[in-house]
């Protein structure tokens, strides 16, 4: 306690700036390594993803499960904390209940599946549906979080958990009566140019 006080408290450690990366960058997220390959706007139907009269923003990644067990592709939904298209958030760290998140699948041989087996690289696509007439974004920026093999304080059990950081309380949190506010730790921000693919 005294040591903590002497060094100016425990909460004021300066936040590390997330790494700024671009297309083709590989990020080690603790539980998986993610190679950001591409971002495309294309109509649905390709590889069995989506329906053909709608357009989707698809972020394509090569993900290798570096943990010891199979997990589902939906895990990338929380591993990639937030996504912004031209600076406008299309997936938020704290999603509101009203918006359905993006669909995350693995793709192989023209089919969509949902598993990532340990040590096996797989192509993962995160697909956002675009509204009719919506302009295709020029760039997307992805916030990559990280996982750690976590030991629970109360029961000493172990499990994978997304690393979170405490952040100052916002006025909204105070109104809700929260005493602490956590956000996922961002280790890398990946900026991808968006290609547009017509049929």
């Amino acid at each position: 306690m005294g040591v903590g006080a002497a060094f100016g408290g425990l909460e004021d450690a300066p936040k590390e700036k997330p790494e700024q990366l671009g297309k083709g960058a590989e990020v080690d997220q603790g539980r998986m390594t993610t190679l950001f390959e591409d971002a495309v706007v294309r109509p649905g139907g390709k590889d069995g993803l989506g329906i053909s009269d709608k357009r989707y923003l698809q972020i394509t990644m090569k993900v290798t499960n570096t943990s010891e067990a199979t997990f589902i592709a939906e895990m990338m939904n929380s591993a990639l904390v937030a996504v912004r298209a031209d600076g406008k958030p299309i997936k938020e760290a704290r999603p509101s209940a009203t918006t359905l998140g993006p669909r995350v699948v693995t793709i192989s041989g023209g089919h969509t599946y949902g598993q990532l087996h340990p040590g096996v690289p797989a192509t993962v696509v995160m697909a956002f549906e675009l509204q009719a007439g919506q302009q295709a974004p020029k760039r997307v920026e992805i916030d990559a979080g990280t996982y750690e093999w976590h030991e629970s304080f109360t029961y000493r059990t172990h499990y994978w958990e997304r690393v979170e950081e405490q952040e100052p309380l916002t006025a909204e949190d105070r109104k809700k009566g929260a005493t602490a506010s956590y956000t996922p730790k961002i280790i890398a921000q990946v900026d991808l140019p968006v290609r547009v693919e017509e049929v």
Partner: protein
């Protein structure tokens, strides 16, 4: 006697006052030994606490292991590994049409027989590789064609398949483990059965090289 009692207070003051019941002096060596023994007992008590199972350990399953065709029994269910085969794709024949699933790597197809001593159960499976990785059954093959979807009931054995999409180099030493589905918060001391097909490097190579192109099952 009674008379002498009343005389006690009148004893001359010079009479030697009877001291408190004498404290026998405990020799130093005995006190040292007692202290050491006491400390040892405290240490032993603390040490014994390290043998208390942690939550992780209690939730870890109790594994019964065995090889091919061996009938392995737990208090919740029994299992035997009837056959292990490899294929590059699986064709599931359904009532209307067929469904084909192609392996990313190679399908390990485990034919397992299961029965339950007392009540209907569902049993899932996973593969533990020689280096400890855990592969869930592949979702490429329709779950309806697997044994994980069926009721395992008393009085008769039910045979069926579990399909795993494994890298070829992980096949050697892989074991098929069957267990009841995990609950959300885990259950203590659940049984599982590890079925070892006995695949060494040579046999694994031979079997995966000879993997069938299409394996047909009905679903």
């Amino acid at each position: 006697m009674g008379a002498s009692r009343s005389l006690v207070p009148d004893a001359p003051p010079t009479a030697p006052a009877r001291p408190e019941p004498p404290r026998r002096r405990v020799p130093l060596w005995r006190r040292t030994v007692s202290a050491v023994v006491g400390l040892a007992l405290v240490c032993a008590a603390v040490y014994v606490q390290t043998y208390v199972l942690t939550v992780d350990q209690r939730r870890a399953p109790l594994t019964v292991s065995g090889g091919m065709h061996q009938e392995l029994r737990t208090s919740h269910f029994s299992a035997r590994l009837e056959r292990v085969e490899f294929a590059r794709s699986v064709r599931v024949k359904k009532q209307y049409g067929t469904e084909e699933a192609t392996a990313d790597q190679v399908f390990l197809i485990a034919k397992v027989g299961l029965t339950s001593p007392r009540r209907p159960l569902r049993i899932t499976a996973h593969v533990i590789t020689a280096d400890g990785l855990r592969f869930e059954p592949t979702d490429r093959v329709d779950a309806g064609a697997t044994l994980g979807d069926k009721w395992i009931q008393p009085a008769w054995w039910r045979s069926g398949f579990y399909f795993f999409d494994l890298p070829v180099d992980k096949v050697a030493g892989a074991r098929v483990v069957v267990a009841e589905p995990a609950t959300l918060f885990g259950t203590d001391y659940m049984p599982e059965i590890a079925l070892d097909p006995g695949l060494d490097q040579a046999k694994a190579r031979q079997l995966t090289d000879a993997a069938k192109d299409v394996y047909e099952v009905s679903g």
